[in-house]
């Protein structure tokens, strides 16, 4: 049951046919894991908290640095050198006091992923490296949990969502590894190539939207579609990520990746 305060608070979401009263209940019961609290995660987390998601499990091993502030503006100058998860948990509670936040200052790895990401309804990849992205993709596929991935560099933003239940040749849909079958990048990090705050923010907003649509069980959800946005030219493209029949993750092949 929603209270009068809930009806008031979520009135704009309730108006949407996608949401309604049952949607608010779904969000409240949802348990979401968010890996990485940089430019992407520091936007996605407050959007989900504000929208009424019940439980957020946050992971980041890093501390806030001065170079984070131009794009990770939920962190303040007085937070520099503080653990990101601790500051984010504190901030999220000011947005929504009823939110349950589990904050873990650790790097998600092959050794701990099954423990850290158990009993989760959705994984959101806001990490900053290819190895973690591949690890999360593999785990999400095996655990049959939907995955929302986003990334940004320079003036380029990307976002996409995957679900093992909607993956395969019958759906013409693959996984993250089908798109990028690599475990590291020679270049292409914010540290090496730079990024504008609003560009990574655009990718984060797209991820938050995908996440809410998944949690609200949007029947029009498009899985395995890459959204690319070049904010320098304004050019956007949607690409269907077809399954690579040689993919070691979703096509059942074993390879050096496993």
């Amino acid at each position: 049951m929603l209270s009068d305060a809930d009806f008031l608070r979520y009135s704009r979401q309730l108006m949407l046919p996608l949401c309604g009263e049952s949607g608010i209940q779904r969000l409240r019961q949802a348990r979401v894991a968010l890996v990485g609290l940089g430019g992407l995660g520091s936007l996605v987390a407050p959007y989900l908290a504000a929208a009424g998601v019940g439980t957020l499990r946050l992971f980041d091993h890093d501390s806030i640095s001065l170079s984070n502030l131009p794009r990770q503006w939920l962190y303040q100058e007085t937070d520099v050198q503080m653990p990101k998860v601790a500051v984010m948990a504190r901030q999220l509670k000011t947005i929504h006091a009823g939110l349950k936040v589990d904050a873990t200052a650790a790097r998600v790895s092959a050794d701990n992923i099954h423990h850290l990401l158990s009993d989760i309804d959705l994984i959101i990849d806001c990490s900053d490296n290819m190895a973690t992205r591949q690890l999360l993709n593999r785990h999400a596929f095996i655990a049959e949990v939907p995955l929302v991935t986003g990334a940004a560099i320079g003036m380029q933003a990307q976002g996409m969502a995957f679900h093992s239940a909607h993956c395969g040749t019958e759906y013409n849909a693959g996984c993250y590894h089908c798109l990028y079958p690599i475990t590291e990048l020679a270049a292409g990090s914010c540290q090496t190539d730079g990024v504008l705050g609003p560009v990574v923010g655009m990718a984060g907003c797209y991820q938050a939207t995908l996440a809410l649509r998944i949690l609200l069980q949007d029947p029009a959800m498009q899985w395995s579609q890459l959204w690319r946005f070049d904010l320098a030219s304004g050019h956007q493209q949607i690409i269907q990520i077809t399954q690579d029949t040689a993919c070691p993750v979703c096509a059942g092949h074993t390879s050096a990746f496993s």
Binding site: A152, A187, V200, Q237, I239, Q240, T245
Partner: protein
């Protein structure tokens, strides 16, 4: 014959594979061959197909690099 990658006309031989053309394009544009993805008609062409796939005149491809920043 010509194909188009990101709207650049590329001269190709009739026996060229997609892999060969993409590698040449990456070399010309200082891109890492291992880190790019390619789409045709807004649909991903899986990397495992590149070595076998013969190109057809006037085909248009999108080529873009992986992004991991967050």
């Amino acid at each position: 014959m010509f194909i188009y990658i990101n709207q650049h006309a590329i001269a190709c031989g009739s026996d060229d594979t997609l892999a060969k053309v993409i590698r040449a394009y990456c070399d010309d544009h200082q891109l890492h061959f291992d880190e790019v993805a390619v789409a045709h008609n807004d649909s991903l062409v899986p990397r495992s197909q590149w070595a076998q796939q013969r190109i057809v005149a006037e085909q248009r491809f999108s080529l873009f690099s992986a992004v991991a920043g967050g």
